[in-house]
């Protein structure tokens, strides 16, 4: 037996070079980096699609693309940004940070970790390839509502099966995260001593495992309805197209929090660091996160108030939805209270985190408006909804990811980014993001429908402003890429504890950390 062990141990020591290193790696940092680079690429792919949409909407009338292609762009933009950009970015951050925050050598299930990453590029290649089919890509919106989604061309089964693969990747990733957090913590790190980012990811992983299989079930029913004659979503056979919406949003609403809870964790990490105070109300942050997660399973039908539900259903989902404002309010209060009388400085990560608090709250309030059934009858499927979820996703989730990258990049690379350029990137991004999405509130309230390539002339001015903002936002992100490469090729090394006020085990490691983060588990009191 001992010879066997030696043989297996010998295998550890030669690391393959070139592409094979990345294909076969089981290292959480390698995999984290691949996730983050993949996410950045998909951010630009999805961004280009958004720019096609905004270019077409610059003026009323049809200028650049045919309506069918416009619909493919809105559908793909959403799928790419949700499953390709934001979710992989958070998983990449989890991969990099969880082991070094809890004092572990690596993720709990390293081969599974490799698998969950490598599914993504294949799934997206398959999904994006449908854009080059004769009959085009999926065009019924990312929510895939039947019967419209069943009327597409050859892209349909490819889209569905790539969604299955994305779901598989997310579930495997989430299983790994839970196993890591529950089993790999350093001795002495009790659950209530965990860094808050770890807590938010633990809860996010639970949401992923509970909701992604439901999406898999929903799209499987679409597939059998189209190809195998089942009638889940056909009223003439006793089914109901609205049933798809229920099942989809039972997944969809937890998914919304999958996209924001890790962002809460990031902001709750960065605000204390640059306020030089401990996080205000750590326990209440944990309970608030858990409450938001649990509530997310009983609010789904607020996405479909106009579909025709019994009154009792409308009222139930209205009030449960409004309840979410309470734990979210606790969080915003705690962030502000953390800064109160703090010794604050405003480095780039802090700027993004501060903008997050303000702008995410705007998105939260518009969500509260949408939660009111009678008001939602007016707002449903207008640009107001588009404004709402872009406020929570772009200056919400994406800003938090940017903040996290600036905050931990010196730790990952051992090199400090250019602070001046970082601040410039922040201001350009913040100005353009508001220029893009704020006017959408106005056109939405005035009745401009979403997912339509043309609009009434009364909406022209605000749409022109939004399009200018979108191109400005897109170009500003090229500066982000420049900053990243500029940092990587520097030769000055960053300190181990990059930020004066930062706390946590990751800052006790060298910058960059060793290949196997903690060979010996540190002691936590």
């Amino acid at each position: 037996m001992s010879t066997n062990i030696d043989k297996l141990h010998d295998d550890h020591h030669h690391t393959p070079s070139g592409i094979m290193r990345w294909i076969t790696t089981t290292n959480h940092k390698d995999i984290g980096s691949m996730y983050l680079w993949f996410s950045l690429i998909m951010f630009f792919v999805g961004g280009l699609m958004a720019l096609v949409i905004r270019a077409e909407l610059f003026q009323p009338g049809l200028q650049l693309v045919v309506p069918g292609f416009f619909n493919q762009m809105t559908t793909m933009h959403a799928l790419v940004m949700i499953f390709g950009a934001v979710m992989p970015a958070f998983v990449g951050l989890a991969n990099w940070q969880l082991p070094i925050m809890i004092g572990a050598p690596d993720m709990a299930l390293p081969r599974l970790n490799n698998w969950s990453f490598w599914i993504l590029p294949f799934a997206f290649t398959m999904m994006l390839s449908t854009l080059f089919f004769g009959s085009g890509g999926p065009a019924a919106g990312w929510t895939l509502y039947p019967p419209l989604s069943l009327q597409g061309g050859d892209s349909f089964p490819f889209t569905i099966l790539s969604i299955h693969m994305l779901g598989l990747s997310s579930i495997l990733g989430a299983i790994n995260v839970i196993a890591t957090i529950l089993n790999m913590r350093a001795p002495g790190m009790t659950l209530m001593k965990m860094p808050i980012f770890v807590w938010t990811w633990l809860i996010t992983a639970f949401l992923l495992i509970a909701s992604m299989p439901v999406l898999a079930g929903a799209v499987t029913m679409l597939l059998t309805d189209k190809f195998f004659g089942t009638m889940f979503f056909t009223a003439s056979g006793g089914g109901d197209p609205a049933m798809f919406q229920h099942i989809f949003w039972f997944f969809g609403h937890p998914e919304v929090y999958i996209l924001i809870l890790p962002a809460f964790g990031i902001v709750s990490t960065i605000i204390p660091a640059f306020s030089r105070k401990r996080l205000f109300g750590y326990d209440s942050m944990v309970y608030a996160t858990a409450s938001i997660a649990l509530l997310s399973f009983i609010v789904w039908a607020h996405h479909m108030f106009t579909v025709g539900m019994p009154l009792a259903g409308e009222i139930f989902f209205m009030f449960t939805t409004m309840l979410i404002a309470i734990p979210t309010g606790v969080k915003v209060f705690n962030w502000v209270a953390t800064m109160w009388k703090g010794s604050m400085t405003f480095e780039t990560p802090m700027l993004f985190a501060l903008a997050f608090i303000v702008l995410f709250t705007i998105g939260g309030f518009s969500g509260l408006m949408l939660a009111m059934v009678p008001a939602d009858f007016q707002y449903h499927d207008t640009y107001f909804v588009v404004a709402h979820f872009h406020y929570v996703l772009v200056p919400g989730a994406v800003f938090a990811i940017m903040a996290a990258v600036y905050y931990w990049l010196p730790k990952w690379t051992g090199k400090m980014y250019n602070e001046g350029l970082g601040k410039l990137h922040f201001w350009l991004t913040t100005i353009f993001v508001n220029l893009t999405f704020f006017p959408m509130h106005f056109v939405g309230l005035a009745g401009m429908p979403r997912r339509i390539p043309d609009y009434a002339v009364q909406f022209a001015d605000f749409n022109a402003i939004a399009s200018v903002g979108a191109f400005g936002f897109g170009l500003s992100q090229l500066l982000f890429v420049y900053i990243l490469f500029n940092t990587l090729k520097k030769d000055v090394t960053a300190e181990d504890k990059v930020w004066e006020g930062a706390e946590g085990l990751e800052w006790t490691l060298p910058s960059p950390p060793p290949y196997h983060s903690f060979e010996e588990a540190p002691k936590v009191d």
Binding site: R21, T26, N114, F122, P157, I247, M309
Partner: protein, 287 residues
């Protein structure tokens, strides 16, 4: 449990990447098959064959490492959490289809029958439709059909699966007592009961298609019936294959009385399949 103190981190592996390749080949083939292209089937089968080979290889590696004793007790706990949460994800997968069943029975069919909030569909489209479960909807999709009687094969299958749950526990006791005979005979019985269940299920499908006119196309009843029992049958098949692997491992002397996660994982999975069946028996066949 083993001589190794540090947490085992495998440092490189091609298996995950190869698994992904085989899945993408399988899915591209499947999508082309569904779109009606002749080439789809062979590509799909190629992907499936590749998936079997790769799965075999990946599991062999893990078994080899386990037998070499390099997994310490902490790795064992990671495996346990992994399996627990995987089974939870499967529960949620089935709950989507159970949800569809309840929604159809409690909401969409009563509405189509003229009750409550959405009575207009009944009034304007199908005023003659009355909601009686089982239903294939207002257009009598695919014509009249007869039900599979709960008291027949389904009841027998319930007994088979429940018994197999007992035999696998019996085998587990044998393993813990280091009683090889009890272990191996218990497992053989479990595997046999599992495959007999699958056989009966297959027979029931053929009977339903050829004699009862109960098909996937039989409206919402046929849809939910075949989706739920079909995915369950697939899981039983998978579970029985996994049990077979465990049986061979036991025959080869793997596992010890206090270290046998592989056995336990498959036993948990088997109990999960059992519980899903009870739900099916009650809500699909019986009520």
């Amino acid at each position: 449990m083993s001589g190794s103190n540090s947490y085992y981190v495998p440092h490189e592996s091609s298996w995950p990447f190869l698994t992904t390749i085989s899945i993408i080949v399988l899915f591209i083939g499947g999508a082309n098959y569904m779109n009606g292209y002749a080439s789809g089937t062979s590509v799909m089968l190629l992907g499936l064959a590749f998936l079997f080979i790769v799965t075999y290889g990946w599991f062999s590696t893990v078994i080899r490492e386990s037998e070499a004793g390099i997994y310490n007790s902490q790795v064992d706990i990671s495996f346990r959490w992994g399996m627990v949460w995987f089974i939870f994800s499967e529960v949620m997968f089935f709950s989507a289809f159970f949800g569809a069943l309840y929604y159809a029975r409690e909401l969409s069919l009563p509405w189509l029958g003229g009750e409550g909030a959405k009575a207009a569909t009944n009034i304007f489209l199908w005023p003659q439709f009355e909601n009686v479960w089982p239903s294939n909807g207002p257009t009598n999709a695919n014509g009249e059909f007869t039900l599979v009687k709960a008291g027949g094969i389904p009841a027998l299958n319930t007994i088979l699966l429940l018994t197999s749950g007992l035999t696998v526990t019996w085998a587990h006791h044998g393993l813990k007592e280091q009683n090889r005979k009890k272990l191996i005979y218990g497992l053989i019985m479990t595997v046999l009961l599992g495959f007999i269940f699958v056989g009966f299920q297959a027979y029931e499908y053929m009977h339903a298609y050829s004699d009862l006119n109960l098909k996937m196309t039989s409206g919402i009843y046929g849809s939910t019936f075949y989706m739920l029992t079909g995915f369950h049958g697939f899981h039983v098949t998978l579970g029985a294959v996994m049990l077979t692997v465990i049986l061979f491992r036991c025959i080869n002397g793997h596992f010890s009385g206090d270290n046998h996660f592989g056995f336990e994982a498959v036993a948990w999975y088997w109990h999960f399949v059992d519980v899903v069946w009870l739900g099916l028996f009650v809500f699909v066949y019986w009520l």
